[in-house]
Amino acid sequence: MSQPPKEPTPPNGADPGLGGPEAPVAAIPRPVLPRTLPAVHRDDLDGHLIVVEGTDGSGRSTQIALLTEWLESQGFAVQTMGLRRSALIAKDIDALLARNVVTRYTLALMYATDFYDQLETRIIPALRSGMVVLADRYFYTLIVRAVVRGINREYAHGIYELALRPDLTFFLNVRPEVTFLREFKKEPTISYWEAGRDMHLSDDLYESFIHYQTLVRKEFVHLARRHNFVTFNGEGSIRAVNADLRRRIADHLGIRSVRYQPSQSLVHLWR
């Protein structure tokens, strides 16, 4: 778990432990810095950060929904995160994507803002209180998207140097030809961004999708090796992939039984 070195205590001398019982109540300014990055240390956080990565249509969201139910049934408090879910900037990114006037560095940095806002305002507090955080994509996706658009790899990694490293990162590996069919089932037209149309790879949208998602997948495979992801073949059935995920997570969290049958509300996913 590589973490940035401890930053010096800020000039107000605030204690990262947020004052003991004898700390005077009034007249002490809110010690903001030590509660946020880069002064946060993984060791102070009791929770678990579990990431599921994969291309569009790899089955991430379905798996996260099932895992959430399973973990909660096991008595774990679960918090989820994903892309474009920050209170700070998610709406603005949506608006920009719709208008597609945005350039690549700006978009990369807005996604970074969205990511760190969630990390600092929701995820770190959740981990501090011992929750299991399930991330439907993490900064790896953002690195991948930046890199396939020609942004320097070291630059992209550097942005996320302050972010917490997950305890477990899963990569659901699926061929673009398969994800295309899944995505097309969900939505009968292929979206601008999923086809990577901003990259002008082809005017044939199927070809554009396959080409773009192939680049993305290749970069993921590269990251998976570099960051010790647990790679699963995401082309198997939802049930089978979920069993694989549960086994690894149970192992990590010390859960003895991996038996699970989804509730009525999720049973439609169990096919």
Partner: protein, 245 residues
């Protein structure tokens, strides 16, 4: 070391010493970039405005750009500031996004098309201010790696008390982030502002030598400073390239 590179030199193979080259890429664009830096109240904006007037009246292709002004990112920045939900990291990133938008859609195309670009604050503002907020220096440098080195960086250095007096006399109330109130330095906003500006000033001072800032004495009268500024610009930049007449 301040680089004495003239615009002509950029057309030739890079003749700068290796150490200088490793530091930051220098641009080969037909345009030129002049930036002003300094703490609030240092007089930099006034001076850049006067420089712009001089250049425009002289008939040069000039464009002015300002920190924190991209319309694409403005709503998010405003929201974050209003809710006071920005951390040092997200404060820094949102300003980097703002800068990137202006850089990619404005500054870079202008430099490529042969404009004289005048920037009120540049990446050094982030180095100094976000650094004072606790963001690691190496992380900040990486964030702005895509931005080219300016041709001239004017650093307006005024004593802290003078700068603060200028700001306080013209403003009814200091804003939360402006005063560095998020750092919890002091409950008194003016005191917080003073401490925060002091921390930023310290960071700026550390950048003078490695970044090759041209030090401008903020205590000098406005006209005198402006005269110096114009002399340096004429000396370092071949203005004939930008003439529209």
């Amino acid at each position: 070391m301040t680089s004495t590179r003239s615009l002509e030199a950029t057309a030739e193979p890079n003749t700068e010493p290796a150490a200088e080259k490793a530091k930051r890429p220098t641009h080969n664009y037909p345009g030129a970039l002049v930036v002003v830096e300094g703490i609030d109240g240092s007089g930099k904006s006034t001076q850049l405005h006067l420089l712009q007037r001089w250049l425009e009246v002289g008939g040069y292709r000039t464009h002015f750009t300002e920190w924190n002004s991209s319309p694409l990112v403005a709503t998010a920045t405003k929201r974050g500031k209003r809710r006071r939900s920005l951390t040092p990291v997200t404060f820094s990133l949102i300003h980097a996004a703002d800068f990137a938008d202006r850089y990619e859609r404005q500054i870079l195309p202008l430099l490529r098309s042969g404009h004289l670009v005048l920037a009120d604050r540049y990446i050094y503002t982030a180095y100094a201010r976000d650094g004072a907020r606790g963001c690691p220096a190496a992380w900040l440098r990486n964030l702005y790696r895509f931005a080219t080195s300016p041709d001239i960086i004017f650093y307006f250095r005024a004593p802290l008390e003078i700068a603060i007096e200028r700001i306080l006399s013209g403003r009814p109330r200091l804003k939360y982030y402006e005063a560095g109130a998020d750092l919890g330095l002091s409950l008194d906003r003016v005191e917080s502002f003073r401490m925060f500006q002091g921390m930023i000033l310290e960071r700026y001072d550390q950048l003078v030598e490695p970044e090759g800032f041209v030090l401008m004495d903020g205590k000098l009268p406005v006209q005198k400073l402006q005269q110096q500024m114009r002399e340096i610009v004429s000396l370092r930049i071949n203005l004939n390239r930008f003439t529209t007449r």
